[in-house]
């Protein structure tokens, strides 16, 4: 290895952290649903795809940016509410594996429906954020990544404020804490579940737009969900803070390992290094850094 270059190291680190924010975005959608209803939502990736595909398709038909955004938002809200009504409610009180399988099926239905309506070709998505690198004290940082991180941070702040200071937020936390107690005080769990799925849908929209702008909007966009899994294993499935920290850790370690360990393995370890970390965590700390429940 050549002489250790601190500036280069920092550049890789910052790039990794910013990429990690993108992972966190997808992971937060999982956490919202898992926390309130205990369902591991495999359809999260399909929701990301549907949101992005809807947005980009109506944009291509000449609809202005904000109208397209509102329309995609409306689609995600409707989707969240109808999933609660048609999938979750009939399956209340079934074992977790049944619910997981249901969301697996749901992911195919959403993917299929999205492509049936909007077609299967690849769409480019331009959010109007240019991707010129900015320089901070000798470190080059992607402007797009910075904007994406800013949007993600704003969304997390909004969610946190919502959970901390509204009564619905309190009801959310209560339902996540103890369902029996929640029913005893008259909380309406179906409504809370519906709200959680709607919130996850909105998060999917944000993730879909940012990831879509990065990768192009196509079927494989739904596979970003696979990147969220090691983030969740690391941070814990029921902690938003965990999703953020997990995303940052995974993003940073992926990039650093690619650059510094990659040459030892002949390169290309960025693709699987996250899963190695996740495996180690499953052995050492199955609940994740911030999680309360063990998933193993």
């Amino acid at each position: 290895m050549p002489d250790f270059d601190i500036l280069f190291f920092l550049e890789v680190l910052v790039g990794g952290l910013l990429a990690g924010v993108m992972y966190s975005l997808v992971a937060i959608g999982f956490v919202l649903i898992y926390k309130t209803s205990g369902v591991l939502n495999f359809a999260q990736g399909s929701m990301v795809l549907l949101a992005a595909l809807t947005f980009v398709s109506v944009r291509e038909r000449g609809v202005p940016f904000w109208a397209a955004l509102l329309l995609a938002l409306a689609v995600m809200v409707l989707l969240g509410m109808s999933i609660e009504r048609t999938v979750l409610r009939p399956l209340v009180n079934k074992p977790p594996i049944t619910l997981f399988m249901a969301t697996l099926g749901l992911s195919y239905v959403i993917e299929g429906a999205a492509q049936l309506v909007w077609g299967t070709q690849v769409h480019g998505l331009d959010l109007g954020i240019d991707d010129t690198p900015l320089e901070f004290g000798g470190i080059l940082v992607s402007k797009f990544d910075l904007v994406a991180a800013g949007i993600a941070a704003a969304m997390v702040a909004l969610l946190t404020g919502f959970f901390r200071s509204t009564r619905i937020g309190l009801a959310f936390r209560a339902a996540a804490d103890d369902q029996l107690a929640a029913l005893a005080v008259g909380l309406r769990l179906p409504r809370i579940w519906a709200a959680a799925w709607v919130a996850a849908g909105v998060v999917s929209l944000v993730a879909g737009l940012l990831w879509g702008a990065r990768l192009g909007v196509q079927f494989s966009l739904s596979l970003v969900v696979l990147k969220a899994l090691p983030v969740l294993v690391l941070g814990g499935f029921d902690s938003i803070l965990g999703a953020i920290v997990g995303g940052l850790l995974i993003g940073a370690s992926e990039k650093l390992s690619e650059v510094y360990l990659g040459p030892l393995f002949g390169g290309g370890i960025e693709g699987w290094f996250a899963y190695v970390i996740a495996l180690v965590f499953l052995l050492v700390r199955p609940a994740g850094l911030f999680g309360q429940k063990e998933m193993a």
Binding site: G38, N93, L99, R167, I168, A174, A175, L183, V185, G186
Partner: protein, 315 residues
């Protein structure tokens, strides 16, 4: 959540199966217009204590699980503002009785009348709206929320601001939040829980957790309060305080109290009337004095070394 559910009590499963029957609950709600609002309104007027007509009536309730009869042709009438104890040996059907009143169990026969409304099965989801609050034998607290939050959420059924208003935090939503907060603080003061409203409920000693659960039930100003062994596992001092609180809840808010308790000394001192269950049947129902003198009760329950009973800790 749903992961842990299967390990929980049967009653929890039953609770959740009720959620899926939301549709039928709505039908009942439609048949009793405004029942939700009526129960949830925050009338401060003190009720006449005790009123002439029963506020809660059970009519020939029969409940069995498989071949085991939990309740057999059971009748009970509780007047408004009354403290009614339900006693009996373990397995006599006391908790089943509370579960019928709160709609967790559906009896095979019989009806429950709440404030003149008849139910074959009480809609659990609307229990709070009907003005009924309960505590659980094994506690059902939000351990991860603060004491204050636990109590505030007891007013969950008293909420009219819609989603948007709450997010924006304006007008009605702000008023309701402020009111819920004020009520919760009032109850916390009332129950001497001031020590740590910001502490996580799960970190409190058991006796205080019981008191928080009681506060959460009380903050909704329920018409009917169902207490399932509220003093189990408490020290003698804690029991004395709790007794004082239950009586004060009745005296100040006019709440009707139905109480399951094993400590006979407390039951006799606190209750207006006592019903005694044995093998799912009511073998006595009357004033504490009359019940204590009843030969059937002595044979079935009181005769069995009740000094030990009072010291027992029910897990």
């Amino acid at each position: 959540m749903i992961t842990g559910m299967n390990k929980q009590l049967a009653s929890k499963d039953d609770y959740l199966s009720r959620v899926s029957k939301d549709g039928t609950d709505k039908l009942i709600a439609a048949a009793v217009p405004l029942s939700f609002l009526a129960g949830a309104s925050t009338k401060e007027t003190s009720r006449s204590i005790p009123g002439p007509s029963p506020t809660l009536r059970l009519e020939s309730i029969t409940l069995s699980f498989g071949g085991v009869t939990a309740l057999a042709d059971f009748d009970l009438a509780v007047a408004a503002g009354e403290i009614r104890a339900i006693i009996g040996p373990n397995g006599a059907g006391k908790s089943s009785l509370l579960n019928v009143i709160s709609g967790i169990y559906r009896p095979q026969r019989g009806q429950v009348w709440i404030d003149g409304r008849k139910f074959a099965r009480v809609p659990t989801q609307q229990l709070a709206g009907l003005g009924i609050a309960r505590t659980f034998q094994n506690l059902a607290l939000f351990k991860g929320l603060s004491v204050l939050e636990n109590v505030v959420i007891g007013r969950a059924a008293v909420r009219h601001a819609n989603f948007l208003e709450q997010i924006v935090g304006m007008g009605r939503a702000r008023r309701e939040r402020a009111e819920a907060q004020a009520r919760a603080e009032e109850i916390i003061d009332f129950l001497d829980l001031r020590a740590g409203p910001d502490r996580l409920a799960g970190t409190l000693p058991y006796g205080l957790q019981k008191r928080v659960e009681f506060a959460r039930a009380l903050v909704a100003r329920p018409k009917i309060l169902l207490l399932d062994e509220p003093m189990a596992g408490m020290t003698a001092t804690e029991k004395r305080e709790m007794t004082r609180f239950v009586r004060a809840a009745r005296d100040e808010f006019g709440t009707t109290v139905i109480l399951i308790e094993h400590d006979i000394g407390i039951v006799m001192g606190l209750s207006d009337r006592v019903a005694v269950l044995d093998h799912g049947r009511k073998i006595a129902d009357g004033s504490p004095g009359a019940v204590q003198a009843d030969q059937a009760v002595i044979d079935a329950y009181l005769g069995v070394a009740h000094e030990d009973e009072s010291e027992e800790v029910y897990a």
